[in-house]
């Protein structure tokens, strides 16, 4: 216990090790970002508007390249509304025109009405650039941790503390 404190070389190694873990995670995230061309290649579902397909806390993998075909009606996309930073996961239900200026309308499967109300004032349709990716794969429940963390901020401190303690105390 606390052996790292007695040996500065070991302490440095542990700090480096911790840094390595953090930077690996960061590089993997950014690498996924580059591959999928999406600023946020993995998202956690925050609302129940796509139930029963997606529940709160489910993990979605996004793909934002149009290699074979354009983003089309029926795809489940994640979009950001102008000037709002909350990503929304809904299904494209209408598409008028093609190319980057095609007008897209979205709707949550579980919602009665389409998303016109959610869009910015004066915005009736989305364009391709508003979309940050189409959902292509799904893992249930795993993302619930992040919802817990954002709803109970003190958990963040506790978790960081435990992680830091573990790394410092660990002998490897």
């Amino acid at each position: 216990m606390l052996s790292g404190l007695q040996n500065p070389r070991q302490l440095a190694a542990q700090v480096l090790n911790f840094g390595l873990i953090l930077s690996t995670a960061f590089m993997m995230w950014k690498g996924l970002s580059v591959i999928s061309d999406s600023p946020s290649p993995i998202v956690v579902v925050l609302s129940g508007s796509m139930e029963p397909a997606f529940q709160r806390g489910d993990l979605l993998f996004l793909w934002n390249r149009n290699l074979l075909a354009e983003t089309d009606v029926g795809e489940v996309v994640v979009y950001n509304v102008k000037d709002k930073d909350i990503p929304i996961v809904h299904r494209v239900v209408r598409k008028f025109g093609q190319g980057e200026h095609a007008k897209l309308l979205t709707k949550g499967d579980n919602n009665a009405a389409d998303d016109t109300e959610l869009y910015a004032r004066g915005q009736d349709y989305l364009e391709r650039k508003d979309i940050i990716g189409s959902v292509f794969a799904y893992i249930p429940f795993v993302g619930y941790v992040t919802i817990m963390l954002s709803e109970h901020p003190w958990l963040k401190t506790v978790m960081l503390g435990i992680m830091g303690l573990l790394v410092v105390l660990q002998r490897e």
Partner: protein
């Protein structure tokens, strides 16, 4: 070295590894099942009426109301990894482009969902947004079954569309070459989301057989009083 903390770490690490490997196997098992979807769709009654996009709007737009009959066999989509199948019918048509840059002959393709339905499997019934009575009925229809392929059999006669569609220009009447197409989206419990293939087969998954209506022309706008009746 082997204190309780490292043991907990090891157990948790092993648990996540095993969980993810099992999940990967389940996801991969999708590709081992045959998919032989088929659908027949035809329009039964098509109307175009004038209306407003919302209550406070003064803009008048033309809305198409396309009633249709649909017979579909999507039963092969229901496997142990199917959480729900989302079936949707789109109307597809082209309209002359409005942009001045490409004013000449370029046509704009349009597609809009006119009807959709969520088909849950018995194991995901409890997640559906339905009333207790409907849920009870649904449960009863598949008592004791974990997978119920029968739910993939659709037979709709003269179905009203759920969505009355329009075009950003507000004009829709007398559009030619409109077609209805049936699509599906399979939502797994874990793994890849898949959509209906229209052109090519993919391994054991065959493309949608038929699923496209004959081309039809939208009629002229109905008179006001008749339109009101149709909306009520």
């Amino acid at each position: 070295m082997y204190n309780s903390l490292t043991r907990i770490q090891n157990v948790f690490g092993f648990f996540t590894t095993v969980a993810f490997v099992v999940a990967a196997f389940i996801a991969a098992s999708d590709f081992t099942y045959d998919r032989t979807p088929s659908a027949h769709i035809k329009t039964t009654n098509v109307q175009v009426v004038k209306g407003r996009p919302h209550y406070y709007s003064t803009k008048k737009e033309e809305y198409a109301i396309m009633k249709f009959s649909l017979d579909a066999d999507l039963s092969s989509l229901f496997t142990w990894n199917t959480k729900q199948v989302f079936v949707y019918v789109t109307a597809e048509w082209t309209s002359p482009s409005k942009s001045p840059a490409s004013a000449a002959a370029t046509n704009q393709t349009n597609s809009a969902v006119i009807w959709d339905s969520i088909i849950t499997t018995p194991s995901s019934d409890h997640l559906a947004n339905i009333g207790p009575a409907t849920l009870k009925k649904l449960r009863k229809s598949a008592a004791g079954k974990a997978v119920d392929p029968k739910r993939g059999l659709l037979s709709l006669k003269n179905q009203r569309p759920k969505y009355q569609i329009t075009h950003p220009t507000g004009r829709l009447a007398e559009t030619t070459d409109v077609r209805l197409r049936v699509h599906y989206n399979v939502q797994p419990w874990v793994g890849f989301l898949t959509w209906s293939q229209t052109e090519r087969d993919f391994g054991r998954w065959l493309r949608m057989k038929d699923g496209l209506s004959r081309a039809f022309t939208l009629p002229a706008v109905k008179k006001k009083d008749e339109g009101k009746k149709a909306k009520a």
